[in-house]
């Protein structure tokens, strides 16, 4: 009896997971790419991707977007040949107006973006030129060497320091429909975590844009950084050299045939590096803004999968082993 017991025990050992593991014989799924599998998978991909693509495409099409480039039109004709001197000449008035015609009904909220192109916010020198600690703790924080050459001016620290803040976008827009001013809501345009945790509530701009060379926009020194949403939006670096940033929201619907006049101050210099400036009005839905790429790509990949599945199936059937 004892022998059979030990035999049984040995057999038990032989089937234990650990034994199988050491013998590299664990139960395993060993998928083989058999033609039925391949065809099924491609059909599956196709049947999922095409509808998803169409769905996405529809979402993208349902977004109404008006885009207008204004950096050239807003330069008076006598300055067209030397736009840089125009923008750098403080004595020339910079105001300008654009006319937007609404072709499709736009449901509130309508997002206002300014779009810059050929603007390298992601340049390494630019990206590093900020001090998160200072933004949060104010001028008592001193380790701001990354902010050079905009760390201090007149021997006093600059808050907020660095190139990003210094080059703050400062074109301003006002919108008029008919005779009435469209109300633009300029709060809540930045991410909440930025407002709450990255920009100090007790940190006020200090010594900002006081140097010999004023870069971009100025800040109201009486408003804490956490409420300077333009700055916060600007300081969230864009990924690529052409980008949009949120300016505000129009919280009224725009009807078909409405004309919107935009009064803008064309202060920001993109002329020296050949960058474009655009103003964009856009609605938004669950997918975000208007971009057909994703939908088209989905449809394309989905339909290619279907084609591959069919071709593969035919080839497989024709050359049966």
């Amino acid at each position: 009896m004892s022998e059979t017991n030990s035999d049984r025990q040995r057999r038990g050992d032989r089937e234990s997971a650990f034994y199988l593991f050491t013998q590299q014989r664990l139960p395993a799924c060993k998928p083989v790419l058999t033609p039925p599998w391949v065809i099924t998978i491609y059909f599956l991909v196709g049947f999922i991707f095409v509808p998803v693509g169409l769905f996405t495409l529809r979402a993208s099409h349902s977004v109404v977007e008006i885009e207008e480039r204004y950096d050239i039109e807003c330069v008076p004709s006598q300055f067209r040949n030397d736009k840089v001197s125009y923008i750098q000449d403080d004595s020339v008035p910079k105001n300008c107006s654009l006319l937007f015609k609404v072709d499709k009904y736009m449901k509130a909220p309508i997002y206002i973006y300014y779009q810059l192109e050929n603007y390298y916010q992601n340049h390494r020198r630019y990206v590093r030129s900020r001090s998160d600690q200072q933004l949060l703790h104010g001028r008592n924080f001193h380790g701001t060497s990354y902010c050079q050459p905009l760390e201090s001016s007149n021997n006093r620290p600059i808050v907020p320091c660095g190139l990003i803040a210094w080059s703050l976008f400062n074109d301003t827009f006002t919108f008029i429909r008919g005779k009435a001013l469209l109300k633009v809501n300029r709060t809540n345009i930045a991410w909440k975590s930025d407002r709450d945790h990255k920009f100090g509530k007790n940190v006020y701009p200090f010594n900002f844009q006081n140097g010999t060379w004023i870069g971009g926009g100025k800040l109201n020194p009486r408003i804490p950084l956490s409420n300077q949403e333009d700055l916060i939006v600007w300081m969230r670096i864009s990924a690529l050299p052409s980008f949009r940033k949120l300016y505000g929201r129009i919280e009224e619907d725009l009807d078909v045939g409405d004309y919107v006049v935009v009064q803008l101050m064309n202060d920001y210099n993109t002329y020296s590096f050949g960058g474009k400036k655009k103003l964009v009005l856009s609605t938004s839905n669950w997918l975000g803004g208007k971009n057909d790429f994703l939908g088209l790509a989905y449809v394309f990949v989905g339909s290619s999968s279907l084609t591959v599945a069919i071709v593969f199936m035919l080839l497989h059937l024709r050359s049966q082993r």
Partner: protein
């Protein structure tokens, strides 16, 4: 040397004790030391221990160089563009372009006034940035993987030798695991490796009748292969066991016709009596009687001599006492049927030597008759027979041929009676010859002996099995089927080596044997003159001629798929290995199906190994068990030591140690193949994943004005190789199996994938690298196109840098891990946990890291929780980009599997479709890509079938 009594004793190499010799059964000796230090045999034979790296590792180095070139190239291109862009920012100290970068007051890295310097600095920065191309963790990971692989090999119960409690020990140097999957040539020692160095008396032919039903290892293997009922199931000793006869070491003879005294009833009983009596007398063994049990054991110079004496004892001729002048036997008397004691007066022993190939004793029996009893090789013995003594010659010759073909060691036994006068004459001359002190002493002895050893009467022949280790023929057959060449390098004499060649099915009847030897008479006669220069010259010429004629034969007949065997002896080898000759020797040897080098010294073994290694540029494996194999083991790409009886020296200098030769089959075909496949896939994949990741960094940099801005958060960058792509690939390196062990052994040709290096060819490596580039391009462009300027969530927020790069990183993590899942073929729970766990961990990491204070998490602060996760587009883009990136590879893989399958793919199909039970189909696949093997018993069976059909 003169001794007390002024008696002279000659000193010959027989009296020389080599270093490491041990004194046994003797209390003390007087000795003088000759040849010390570097002159000792051990030192003369030693070679420098090399450091070994596997071919895959060396090739990996080259890939790394290639990657370095790519990195430098990318950095260089980036620097040029960066230099131009930077230079353009400022003109004559006046800002021309990107004022927001403040190029007027810039540090050196971005200073337009010193644009070339900035470009150079950028180059250095870029090298750091692109370091993700160079998988530094690859080396660490491969080391870990190899150690784990070795542990698995060591754990394999199929390579565990229960009798000696010895598992395989591959961990000795774990960096050669994958090399085990690429072996092209095996160089094997014989004694202790192929054979267990024990002889068994297995058959005999007496008076033209063949006796003995013992089954040799080869026959057993062939039977198994044929599928005919196996003659015995349970191993070599079961015959004896089934008959309740205690197992006797050295005796595996079974024939009821002559055993248990039955020989008396045979027709030629008198011949049988003389035959076994001769076996009991004609030897130099010494009996040792165990005083307690009365059992007799024998100490013999060679194990086959012991086997004879034991055989004689079992059959009723027990040799129990030897004095200087007599031999005592207990004999079965055929007349009375009683055991009687007989004393034979020992008159002379004419010893064995390699040129005589026989030994004789002269005895006077108790009736006063003088008998010359002689045993020797068939090649010499048949010539010495008397006309009247050739009664059974034809039958005996046939039996001997059968035995030899089965790999048995045969000896012919013959005797004659001498008259008193004849003996007296002989004895005088013989004593004189023995006492002569001159160079030709041996010749004199030989001449005298030749005169008496003639007109013999044939008794019969014996067949002794030089016992192969368990499963050796099987193993050799499998290795041959796998396309591995086996060379036997042995110190034994040529006949023994050839016998073993037959036993292992390395040689067979009908195989063309090319024998290169210097035993030709003209060389021997030259040797007697002692003119060294002449000897060398003549020998070299002779070897050269023999090799040339061998080559001519091979090239003339190889078209007819004739198999050749090359047998070369040590003396010839010395010349064949000379620089000017070794290439043609190698050509000849590689043209032959089997190569046997006999009488080779340890140094020569090492040199042959080196020749094969460097000459063919293929992987060589040397296997041996003794100290004399150390050089060979160290020289070969892989040295395998057999932890047998001959001490630990071979094991100590080996890379892998196994207990039995037969484990080589599993070690190479299963573990070698797996390890090779795992490691090559793993390295390819490593390059793929690092390129897929690193190249997105480069692409992003293109869109960041080449300013060396890293695409990802620093922690993401550094943890990519640590957390988000490492464990699954290590799991692949340790666990992946293309086909289970059973199938590896069943389709040995699978092993050729390693030998031909198809899984780590440059084509495959570059394809994987291309896959990496391609994946990176797709991920980058699809992500950046999908997340262009537009709002990316329903709150109108646009995609900032961390959103784009976060999405890209997510896609990369998914893609590389799913790619791994696509390329492995063995999913256990471990793989599932690691792959899905890694992807899951990425999300977890984003959450946890995002909740660290902003000073720590910087631009990843709450990105996932606040921005990515709630946005539908993030998930839609991930799904799309991941599938779109993988689909081309998947298609490629599917097409290859379906239309151009590799060998392992075919086997997977067989397994998967359950066709493995269909022998016809399996055979078809096996034949499909199998080359006809030239050695091994499968080939042997095929050859004999061909032979039969021809008749």
């Amino acid at each position: 040397m003169e001794f007390e009594e002024q008696q002279q004793h000659p000193l010959s190499p027989q009296q020389l004790l080599l270093r490491d010799s041990k004194l046994r059964n003797t209390d003390y000796i007087y000795g003088a030391v000759v040849f010390t230090g570097h002159d000792t045999k051990v030192m003369q034979n030693s070679t420098d221990p090399p450091s070994k790296r596997s071919k895959i590792e060396k090739q990996t180095d080259h890939i790394i160089y290639l990657l370095f070139v790519i990195v430098f190239l990318m950095g260089f291109i980036g620097s040029i563009f960066f230099g131009i862009e930077t230079d353009n920012d400022l003109e004559n100290g006046r800002i021309r372009r990107r004022w927001y970068l403040r190029p007027d007051s810039s540090e050196i890295f971005f200073d337009p006034r010193r644009a070339p310097a900035a470009a150079i600095y950028h180059f250095l920065t870029a090298l750091l940035l692109y370091n993700h191309f160079i998988p530094i963790s690859l080396y660490v990971s491969t080391e870990i993987v190899k150690v784990l692989q070795s542990i698995f090999i060591n754990q394999d119960v199929h390579m565990y030798y229960e009798e000696a409690d010895k598992p395989a020990h591959a961990a000795r140097t774990s960096n050669l695991n994958e090399e085990l999957g690429q072996v092209d040539t095996i160089l094997s020692d014989k004694t202790g490796t192929l054979t267990c160095n024990s002889m068994e008396f297995i058959k005999c032919s007496v008076a033209g009748t063949a006796y003995g039903r013992g089954v040799t290892e080869v026959e057993r293997a062939m039977d198994r292969k044929k599928g005919s009922p196996v003659r015995e199931q349970n191993g070599p000793n079961s015959v004896a066991e089934s008959d309740d006869i205690p197992v006797i070491k050295g005796f595996n003879f079974k024939d009821e016709r002559i055993m248990n005294g039955n020989w008396i009833k045979e027709t030629h009983a008198d011949v049988i009596q003389k035959f076994f009596r001769l076996l009991a007398i004609c030897h130099t063994a010494i009996p040792e009687v165990d005083e307690e049990s009365g059992n007799i054991s024998y100490e013999a110079e060679s194990p086959d001599e012991a086997a004879f004496v034991i055989a004689a004892r079992v059959l009723g001729f027990e040799f129990h006492k030897r004095t200087q002048t007599s031999i005592s036997l207990h004999e079965l008397d055929p007349v009375s049927g009683q055991t009687v004691g007989r004393l034979y007066e020992l008159l002379n022993i004419i010893e064995f030597n390699s040129s005589r190939k026989r030994m004789s004793v002269i005895v006077r029996d108790d009736e006063g008759k003088i008998l010359l009893l002689s045993k020797g090789a068939d090649s010499v013995m048949f010539e010495l027979l008397a006309k009247s003594g050739r009664d059974f010659e034809a039958d005996t010759r046939e039996h001997i041929n059968d035995y030899a073909d089965a790999g048995l060691r045969t000896l012919v036994l013959a005797y004659r009676e001498l008259s008193e006068d004849e003996y007296k004459v002989f004895n005088e001359k013989f004593t004189e010859a023995k006492n002569s002190v001159s160079a030709d002493r041996e010749t004199l002895i030989d001449e005298v002996a030749e005169k008496i050893e003639r007109d013999l009467i044939l008794l019969g022949a014996t067949a002794v099995e030089d016992k192969l280790q368990n499963g050796v023929p099987d193993c050799i057959d499998k290795l041959a089927q796998a396309g591995i060449k086996l060379w036997v390098l042995t110190g034994d004499k040529m006949e023994t080596a050839i016998n073993i060649g037959y036993a292992c099915s390395l040689l067979r009847q009908g195989m063309k044997q090319i024998i290169v030897t210097l035993d030709a008479p003209e060389i021997q006669s030259l040797e007697k003159t002692g003119d060294k220069d002449a000897i060398i010259k003549a020998s070299r010429k002779s070897v050269l001629e023999q090799i040339a004629s061998g080559k001519a034969q091979v090239s003339a007949l190889s078209a007819m798929s004739e198999a050749f065997a090359l047998i070369i002896d040590g003396k010839s080898l010395a010349y064949a290995l000379e620089d000017d000759m070794k290439q043609s020797f190698l050509d000849l040897a590689t043209g032959c199906a089997s190569v046997i080098c006999c009488r080779s010294s340890p140094k020569q073994k090492a040199l042959v190994t080196r020749l094969v290694k460097t000459g063919t540029r293929k992987t060589t494996l040397a296997i041996g068990d003794g100290a004399n194999d150390v050089g060979m083991l160290q020289e070969a790409d892989i040295g395998i030591g057999i932890s047998g009886v001959e001490g630990m020296q071979a094991v100590m200098s080996s890379d892998v140690a196994i207990a039995q030769f037969r484990y080589l089959e599993r070690l190479l075909l299963v573990h070698g193949h797996w390890c090779y496949r795992r490691l090559s896939s793993m390295i390819c994949y490593f390059f793929y994943k690092n390129i897929a990741f690193g190249f997105t960094v480069f692409l992003y940099e293109v869109y960041a004005s080449f300013s060396a801005q890293p695409a990802y958060n620093d922690w993401y960058l550094s943890l990519y190789n640590v957390f988000f792509s490492s464990l699954p690939v290590v799991a692949m390196g340790v666990f992946d199996q293309d086909v289970p062990a059973r199938y590896c052994l069943r389709f040995p040709l699978l092993y050729q994938e390693g030998v031909q290096n198809v899984l780590f060819s440059w084509r495959r490596i570059l394809s994987w690298m291309f896959n990496g580039f391609y994946s990176a391009v797709i991920v980058f462009f699809f992500c950046s196109r999908a997340l262009e300027q537009q709002a990316f969530n329903n709150d109108g927020k646009t995609a900032s840098r961390e959103i784009l790069t976060g999405t890209m990183y997510t896609c990369i993590v998914w893609v590389v891990n799913l790619q791994l899942a696509l390329s492995i073929s063995y999913f256990t729970l471990i793989q599932h946990i690691l792959i899905w766990g890694t992807i899951g961990f990425w999300y977890l990491f984003q959450v946890v890291y995002g909740f660290m204070p902003p000073s720590f998490s910087t631009d990843a602060y709450r990105v996932f929780v606040e921005t990515l996760a709630p946005a539908t587009s993030y998930w839609f883009i991930t799904l799309f980009v991941v599938i779109a990136t993988l689909i081309p590879y998947f298609l490629y893989n599917a097409i290859q599997t379906r239309f151009f399958p590799m060998y392992h793919g075919m086997i997977q199909c067989i397994r998967h479709e359950g066709l493995s039970d269909d022998p016809a189909y399996c055979e078809m696949v096996r034949q499909r890509s199998m080359r006809p093997t030239t050695v091994g018993f499968t080939a042997r069976r095929a050859a004999s079938r061909r032979e039969a059909s021809r008749r």
